[in-house]
């Protein structure tokens, strides 16, 4: 866990009283909506179809149990008893009243959470690997660097009025769980030949209307120089970024238009001016941040405790363990992913009761810590293996032990037309139907790793471009129509999917996905050949044929 210092606590509290005053003036008519809009967005408050929506930051996806309990409290007291975990490692409440928002913010401030940097054209919350600090083989806990960047950019004037929103993601593992290649800046923590810690820096990734996979701008930037290097990128962006056109304002467009070579030369020039300035990071600063991340007092535990051996006889437990339990860097411990994708339910939603119960389980089994991943699932990062059977039983009672992590029913979906004012079509009911179609665990297992991502409009909040199967809702003559792509992926080999053909109607989407999956099962060379590998080998054509032959 990370312990915030006094500066942060003061800042968060000041922010609440400031917003309370702003809301009061808005409700009395002293502030118009035009004047107020930016102020509310700076505090995570959007307007959706049915109500205000409140987006709360969970920096780099790390939550303490008391914070999760407070989120449950907010869901219960100010909302309708649930919250929605998003692909941005944060949580949204869908039914908050503006008049009550200052109270909700004040309650969250009690446990050090806030809504800063969750919206607006600023530096958004830095996201990271949800397994940070516990994944075997990682170079170093990437949250140390996430936190450094967070401190440097929070409310920094230079980063608060950018041409457009700006997102940074950091990973420190070979396998990228933070989807760094679809962020404005992606940072991969590495060591150089001298054993020094630094970053491969990628730039210009993003989804939305014009999707791009990020390109490497520099193969190694020393850790001490990372703030000046990011600053140099932002200065070039601030200088050339298209403030005149919202659709061209993201850095990905600039990188594309200038070309990565020219862009990197500009950055390099800028960087040479500022790299030896106060932006150079002293070792003590990093040490101070490092010391604020505390890790549990792990015990020396056996690799294969008796509890685990005995529980292996239970097929329900085994199915869950094989699916949702991952190796931990400390022997005798595991990382447990908690699927927020029960069959038939909206992806990423958790009720206040589930949040409370999970907070208790985190206290009992995971040293009070919970993680939020961009796939809209949660994780308990430090579970002793001997506790896995008991944890599984408890999760199962809460409806949180669906063994479908990374399988076809582990769907990412944006709120879509059920909630979102920008939507063209619904996303969540498509996800619900697909989970019902593939609810048979043996079938889902047979299919293997397959990510379906769904967005309700071109903004791509549901990451459809990088879904192995991507589904994008559009509107045609007042009807919901869905365009389907295959072959996208969001990991270290990130790629954008290819369209398989004309859009299909709401009622046909699940049938089409079934056809695609049947085609894959027939075409794969062996069971280990994953869907994305078959698509890579054969291209779109055979899938297209299968889907459109009968339509």
């Amino acid at each position: 866990m990370y312990a915030y210092d006094e500066i942060d606590r003061t800042l968060v509290n000041e922010r609440v009283s400031e917003f309370r005053d702003q809301v009061k003036r808005r409700l009395s008519g002293e502030l118009t909506e035009d004047e107020f809009k930016m102020l509310r967005l700076q505090n995570g408050v959007y307007l959706q179809l049915h109500a205000y929506m409140f987006r709360v930051a969970i920096p780099y996806g790390t939550l303490a149990s008391n914070q999760l309990r407070q989120l449950a409290h907010v869901a219960r007291k100010y909302d309708r008893g649930y919250g929605h975990f998003t692909t941005r490692q944060n949580i949204q409440f869908n039914w908050i009243k503006l008049a009550e928002l200052p109270d909700a913010l004040a309650d969250l401030a009690e446990v050090g959470i806030h809504a800063m940097q969750t919206s607006g054209n600023n530096m958004r919350n830095v996201t990271s690997d949800q397994w940070a600090g516990v994944a075997p083989g990682e170079i170093e806990d990437p949250r140390i660097w996430s936190e450094l960047i967070r401190q440097h950019t929070t409310l920094h004037p230079e980063f608060s009025f950018l041409p457009r929103k700006f997102k940074i993601a950091i990973t420190a593992s070979d396998h990228d769980r933070a989807a760094i290649k679809i962020h404005d800046i992606g940072l991969r923590l590495i060591k150089n030949e001298k054993g020094e810690t630094g970053f491969e820096v990628l730039v210009g990734g993003g989804l939305g209307r014009t999707p791009f996979i990020a390109k490497t701008i520099k193969h190694f930037v020393h850790g001490r120089d990372i703030l000046s290097y990011i600053e140099a990128i932002l200065r070039v962006y601030n200088q050339y970024g298209r403030r005149d056109n919202i659709y061209k304002a993201r850095i990905k467009i600039l990188v594309h238009e200038l070309g990565i070579e020219k862009f990197s030369r500009e950055v390099e020039d800028e960087w040479q001016h500022i790299r030896n300035s106060s932006l150079q990071i002293d070792d003590e600063v990093i040490e101070d941040i490092r010391s604020r991340f505390t890790y549990p007092a792990y015990e020396k535990l056996p690799h294969m405790p008796d509890e685990l051996r005995q529980a292996a006889a239970d097929p329900g437990f085994e199915a869950w363990r094989k699916n949702s339990v991952a190796p931990h860097k400390n022997q005798g411990y595991s990382i447990v992913t908690i699927s927020l994708k029960p069959i038939g339910a909206p992806p990423g939603d958790a009720t206040a009761e589930q949040m409370d119960a999970l907070a208790d389980l985190a206290d009992k089994y995971s040293f009070g810590e919970i993680r939020v991943g961009h796939e809209q699932n949660l994780a308990l990062p430090h579970v002793a293996k001997r506790d896995l059977p008991a944890l599984w039983k408890a999760l199962d009672k809460l409806g949180l032990a669906t063994p479908n992590v990374n399988l076809i029913t582990d769907i990412i979906a944006c709120p879509g037309l059920d909630y979102c004012s920008l939507a063209n079509a619904r996303s969540i009911p498509i996800a619900q139907e697909l989970t019902r179609r593939f609810s048979n665990h043996e079938l889902a297992n047979l299919i293997g790793r397959l990510h379906i991502n769904i967005s309700g409009c071109i903004n791509a909040c549901g990451h459809h471009h990088v879904g192995h199967i991507g589904i994008l809702g559009v509107e045609k003559n007042g009807e919901e129509v869905y365009q389907i792509t295959i072959g996208g992926r969001a990991d270290e080999n990130a790629a954008l999917g290819n369209l398989i053909g004309p859009g299909v109607k709401f009622d046909e989407v699940a049938d089409v996905v079934e056809d695609i999956v049947e085609a894959y099962l027939a075409l794969r060379e062996r069971p280990e050949e994953l869907f994305m590998d078959t698509v890579k080998r054969l291209g779109v054509e055979p899938f297209k044929e299968r889907v459109y032959a009968t339509r």
Binding site: E33, L49, Y52, P346, L422
Partner: protein, 105 residues
Amino acid sequence: MTSPLEQKKIKIAGPSVVTANRTWDGIVVYRTAANGWSADLSDAAIVRNSDEAKALLAESVADDVGAIGPYIAPVQIGADGKVQPGNLREQIRRTGVTIGSPVQV
């Protein structure tokens, strides 16, 4: 549904209303003939041509303390005179999400 937030030109094809979200709590409201807001679609003032629509919208925009983000939305009027939302988006705004609440799951 193309988001009406991108509504620029005002051209209506049939009976329409002005809808918005109430400022203090965000709920869906409709502009009434009595220059107020109501949560009930059957209270909404119905406009039938672009001039009427423009006038109702202008008057709604002016009431910024009451509700935010007003725009013109189509409605259908049944044989019985009952007013119904004119598209799926407005249907969802009126009757709520189509997915059930996770709280009951």
